[in-house]
């Protein structure tokens, strides 16, 4: 796949989709507890619904955490209570789609709180665009990832490097994506990621060297701006 194809704006639907930029707050939380970031998402979602906040783009990393989607089966956590305690992992059941996943230091997590009424009320459009953003970001980091039909996320040689899981209320999005940059992948062996027997990978594993997560974050931000036609208002409300 070529870069030009990956970074092309969404073609279907209204041609007006990308004419006007959408003002968006940038919120960089650094390393933050999963629960605290979740509360912030809910607050922002309510404010956007009440039209007292702009759309928001949250960047963060989490301490070691397993999250389970609404329909996740608990037996997809393979290690038992003791293993979870031993490695200091918190477990959260959340209202997003998808199965169990792991978050931890070295993984770039992005929570776009976007009103899809600005774009298109279409879950497929939104999930496709998130995948395009991830793949374009990875390409800029010299990692050639691709989509897999029927399996959301970004993949390299059958290994998964990024996961997606979203929830939508009143066509406003929350939850989002997680990209493994320098993630300790051993934590994924404690679960069946996404309920599948798959191997996870990271930018570090693919390239063989540790990467500056803040640079990946900047590239990711640039791709969000391009794909969703955002005007970033740092610290704006």
């Amino acid at each position: 796949m070529t870069q030009s194809l990956l970074t092309q704006p969404y073609q279907r639907g209204s041609p007006k989709l990308h004419e006007k930029s959408i003002r968006c707050r940038l919120i960089d939380l650094g390393l933050i507890d999963y629960g605290a970031s979740f509360s912030l998402q809910k607050e922002l979602l309510a404010s956007i619904k009440n039209k007292t906040s702009l759309d928001a783009l949250i960047f963060c990393e989490h301490p070691h955490t397993f999250t389970l989607g609404r329909l996740s089966k608990k037996d997809n956590i393979l290690c038992g209570e003791e293993g979870i305690k031993k490695r200091g992992i918190s477990v959260n059941r959340v209202d997003r789609g998808g199965e169990v996943t792991y978050h931890g230091p070295g993984q770039l997590v992005v929570y776009p709180i976007f009103n899809l009424s600005h774009y298109k009320k279409d879950l497929k459009f939104y999930l496709d665009t998130l995948e395009n953003v991830i793949i374009a970001t990875l390409l800029k980091c010299n990692v050639h990832a691709e989509k897999r039909p029927s399996f959301r996320g970004a993949w390299i040689d059958g290994k998964k490097i990024a996961s997606i899981g979203i929830a939508v209320h009143h066509w406003i999005t929350c939850h989002g994506l997680a990209l493994n940059v320098n993630t300790d992948l051993s934590y994924f062996s404690m679960i069946r990621p996404c309920g599948l027997d798959i191997t996870m990978t990271s930018i570090e594993s693919v390239l063989g060297n540790t990467n500056d997560i803040s640079k990946v974050k900047q590239v990711m931000l640039d791709n969000f701006v391009k794909s969703f036609n955002l005007e970033i208002m740092e610290g704006g409300k």
Partner: protein, 76 residues
């Protein structure tokens, strides 16, 4: 009486799975409140109540698959 139907969720999305009813039959609900959560692909979609009133019936239970346009329940 107002029917609760699965709306269009996106191009090519023909069905979803009921994952959670926020209200029980007989309870009062206001128009616009989250009424039922649906799961599809890697997304959950919260359907707002189409009307204010009493949740009269629920035809699709948690775990049931529903098609776009299918009636899942009713408000009266």
């Amino acid at each position: 009486m107002t029917e609760i139907k699965l709306p269009e969720l996106g191009e090519g999305i023909e069905k979803a799975t009921v994952s959670y009813w926020y209200f029980q039959v007989g309870q009062q609900v206001k128009e616009g409140e989250d009424l039922v959560e649906l799961a599809t692909d890697k997304a959950t979609f919260n359907l707002p109540s189409p009307a204010t009133g009493r949740l009269k019936e629920v035809l699709s239970q948690d775990g049931d698959e529903v098609k776009v346009g299918q009636v899942m329940g009713a408000i009266e």
